[in-house]
Amino acid sequence: VHRFIGCAAIVSRVLGSFKNGSPQPRNFIREMQTVTLIPGDGIGPEISNAVMKIFEAANAPIEWEERNVTAIKGPGGKWMIPPDAKESMDRNKIGLKGPLKTPIAAGHPSMNLLLRKTFDLYANVRPCVSIEGYKTPYTDVNLVTIRENTEGEYSGIEHLIVDGVVQSIKLITEQASERIAEYAFEYARNNQRASVTAVHKANIMRMSDGLFLRKCREAAEKHKDVKFTEMYLDTVCLNMVQDPTQFDVLVMPNLYGDILSDLCAGLIGGLGVTPSGNIGANGVAIFESVHGTAPDIAGKDFANPTALLLSAVMMLRHMGLHSHGKKIETACFDTIRDKKVLTKDLGGNSKCSEFTEAICQKVRDMD
């Protein structure tokens, strides 16, 4: 039986390599899939350990390959990530990343920016769902923000025209807008979401946001089964803080996405409980926790692994391992709802390891 499974696994892996584009769900044979793990800095290593332990308790078919992505100077003087990290990511296609610190005067650009450029991570997806055990003034939030991640206001092109006058350029291209619009509708379709709303400011930025909006409309034509609406950024902000239940999937350019995704994270409880995923070209997908490295509590077993855990669950869903994802997510939410073992930021005073153990216990109990 083992040899049969082994042969089938090799065959399917070979077949898998001929397919390009998004990874296909390969759950008909229980083979181990390798995922690149980037623990990160600060509390990164301890929360990554927590996630690995929980995955082991859930018997998830994931093999972790740990890599470090501290920037090094490549030939020609350009900053790049270490070649073994790049090679591992290109091979595995799926990654899980902890928080990375950006040293202020190190001379190299932000690590997140470097990763984004290396793997062309064009879409940042942040599902925001209210957590039952963690009370915020907003209940029943269930929306997804999809943010264009490569251009827009963050192109970094700035000039000093004359002394005292600075111009920043916001770049919108047809190609990137088309790509993100397509992705948004694909995501809505694959995840059974009813509508997509494009967020823009085309009344002021007529040409740039106008182009973005046109591409969204064209993608909407191709996906008639998903409802499409468009709304001004200020109207979205206004309605979001009054009634977030009216929103489903939101797609938008870079800056609005940055602000809105953090706004939505604030609605459900902050960056400590928000998952996030970055989708790139060539089927690469890196899931990450978006909070900081918290150097003041690093190594003291105080950290909250929820954000990284929920991002890992997002990763499992992306890979098609829905049952494992559901199991781990339910265990996590149940633990938070019970309120018996909670880390400090969630309102309790347990340690990270205790919280992790409670989730592992729940996962094991489910089998």
Binding site: E158, S168, M205, D234
Partner: protein
Amino acid sequence: MAAHGAVLSLCRFIKPFGGGRLGNTVKVFGTTLTSHRNKSGLNGDNIPPPAKYGGRHTVTLIPGDGIGPELLNHVREVFRFSCVPVDFEVVHVNSALETDDDMNNAITAIRRNGVALKGNIETKHTLPASVKSRNNVLRTSLDLYANVMHCQSLPGVQTRHKNIDIMIIRENTEGEYSSLEHESVSGVVESLKIITRNNSLRIAEYAFQLARDKGRRRVTAVHKANIMKLGDGLFLQCCKEVASGYPDITFDSMIVDNTTMQLVSKPQQFDVMVMPNLYGNVVSNVCAGLVGGPGLVPGANYGRDYAVFETATRNTGKSIAGRNIANPTALLLASCMMLDHLELNDHATSIRNAVLTTMNETRLHTADIGGQGTTLEVVQSIMRIIQSKGQLTSEF
């Protein structure tokens, strides 16, 4: 001084030939020359109120689109009823036309009267890109550089957060709203965000002066200087420079995404906030949502010579136009701000008190804040309260 005057007139001479980029450079240059005149800082008090003829002020009224016309009619009704010595000069702007004549008439009227009350003019973004947003054109032509919005929790309105009291000062003329866009290569559009030292200093000065006048303790600058290092970096630097001249006021800064997160979890921590144009749009709408919605908060646009009052969130409200359900509170409070500006403080206080009493004590609410009242009922309640205070009123 004579040389200064000569250069200024030279600027005005160059302007018609400018067009495009050169025209904007001249505008910047013009700002450089004139800015030293308002070193003392403005918050509506140093602008002398417009002249009164026969004891009555004339104010330009721009009805706009959507709910603007009906709500401004109510404002006029309340003013007539309270015998407020203000005459309205109504100027219509048709948003469907492509020509600028309407807008130019409106701007000339405001220059003539000095003060205006307006509804929002719709921007049809199906028109070509050369037709700019009319509201934006108004703000930049009159150089209304400061947009001031005061968000306060009202006791009569049910909201998730209580005890909010934030003043938002938003740069109103440049930043992302410069309307300078071009398509350099087919499929690639560039939009320019302009930040200038003069405008940043001006708005920071305004913010700190306002904070001092109102007895506020803290000013927070909202920015994204970690990404837009030159642009927002310049803005932040200007704020810091101005802050050093006001040692009694604490100054700190916060990145815009963190700001929105903090606003939805703990809005009570903010006092006065100052920021460039686009972040101002986002933050002001979030704050308006937090205190109860777009129907409650008034906004004011102040320039060196002119002042225009409107609702803070600038919505046209097309979907609720003509149905007698719109909330008149925002525009009525904006008209009270206008009366304060014209130094008709007694009238301003009486109307404002009547509006707040209806909101908080009588609890007559329109649909947007969860009530069942119609616009007309609310306005009549306000007029009844004004009458009951014993002031001189005309007939209903």
